[in-house]
Amino acid sequence: MNSRTIIINIVRWVLLLFVQVFLLKNMGFYDLSTPFIYVLFLLLLPFNIPNILLYIIAFGTGLTLDAFYDTMGVHATACVVLAFVRISFIAISLNKDAHDDPEPSLSYMGFQWFALYSLLCIIAHHLVLFFLEAFKLSEIGYTLIRCGLSVIFTVLLILLIEFIFYKRTSR
């Protein structure tokens, strides 16, 4: 991991959290669908990051979001779950030592793999997030509808961002 990767990730963290907190926090369709695109930062962390560092970064990012959303611990837990899904998915779908790509982005991994990867991670993240927020099972239908619609919104936005910053030459 060289210094360029670190700087790129820091810039990405600041930008995504800025957009999330100051723009998307005020957005939503009928209180049902709210996008959480800051998870893109966790999705795009490099392949060779140690697990413990990944968890710490995920937890810290979640806590930062919690500070802005006034939901202490909810986003942190959801991010930790996302990190676990990310590690498991990469371990299952890719040959562990073979991948020489720096980061799991659309430009390097192709549409099919990235779409599945982001979809699974975001579903796990949103399920934990919305169920911890509601914290009761009596509203399960409403929570699931909110969760599903938000997953669609977030995945669409993340794919859109990835296509905007698509690097054709790298593949």
Partner: protein, 279 residues
């Protein structure tokens, strides 16, 4: 031991996940009021129900001693009540205020005799010269509205010439445009809830619903609510405007009144008597 370490480090992702998500959940439950209330409530429900069941039996056993303590308390309260009803605790409230030079002080008084059915109504209150009441002082109602003036004073009692009297005239203004007029009662309409505002200059517009308050030029403090205009264009013989208004004050249910003591009343009277009427 070595095998255990290898096992843990091989599945480190899972163990780290457990650790971090536990911390996250603890934070969630500890710091969010709603989540905390839910977890605490569900545990309390079990304990609470058990205690409730136990309490029903306990209450039965204690009935005798509870009855005893209630009856002693009743007796004590009744004694206190006797002491209280024979003492008049509403004394003159004196406010020493040298900074703003407060002009008015209020003295609470109880109405001992009220009358509303006559043409000229006079009521009696239980405060007199000994409490500092002098003839001519203004009297207002604790809720809303004016009552009248002090007429005669004895040592412990005083009479009020109420608004419902042919000689009573109170200086009032229309709140929205400060047009001066005088408040009178009677003139063919002896409804105790209605009065008239008269002698308003002709160019002033009065609408139904306008609020009438005291002017503060005479013994009444300014801005005491009097009533609301209910009918305009009341025909009178003079060249002034008149209007009928609904009084805020209900004279038939008056129990307590406030006597307004004006600190500067004597000074004002002395000053104004220098000017001769026909000058």
């Amino acid at each position: 031991m070595r095998n255990l370490w290898i096992f843990i480090s091989r599945y480190n992702a899972f163990f780290l996940f457990i650790i971090f998500s536990t911390v996250g959940l603890i934070l969630t439950v500890k710091n969010n009021a709603y989540q905390r209330s839910v977890t605490l409530n569900s545990t309390n429900e079990v304990v609470g129900t058990a205690y409730e069941r136990l309490n029903i039996f306990k209450r039965y056993l204690n009935l005798g001693s509870v009855n005893d303590s209630l009856s002693t308390e009743n007796a004590k309260l009744k004694t206190q009540l006797l002491q209280l009803t024979t003492v008049d605790s509403a004394k003159d409230v004196k406010v020493i205020d040298t900074v703003t030079n407060q002009q008015y002080t209020y003295l609470a008084a109880k109405v001992v005799k009220n009358s509303v059915t006559l043409r000229n109504n006079v009521m009696t209150i239980n405060k007199g010269a000994i409490d500092g009441i002098k003839p001519g002082m203004a009297v207002i109602s604790p809720q809303k509205g004016v009552v009248g003036f002090i007429r005669d004073v004895s040592e412990h009692l005083a009479t009020i010439q109420s608004l419902l009297h042919k000689d009573t005239k109170i200086s009032v203004i229309v709140k929205k445009n400060h047009a001066l007029g005088s408040l009178v009662w009677g003139d063919g309409n002896f409804d105790i809830r209605k009065a008239f505002i008269k002698e308003v200059p002709n160019h002033i517009k009065i609408n139904v619903g306008d609020t009438i308050v005291t002017s503060g030029y005479a013994s009444f403090p300014a801005n005491i609510l009097v009533g609301r205009v209910s009918k305009t264009n009341v025909t009178t013989n003079d060249n002034f405007l008149s209007a009928e208004l609904n009084l805020f004050n209900d004279f038939s249910t008056l129990q307590y009144v406030y006597v307004v003591k004006d600190k500067k009343a004597d000074e004002q009277k002395a000053l104004e008597s220098i000017v001769k009427p026909n000058e």
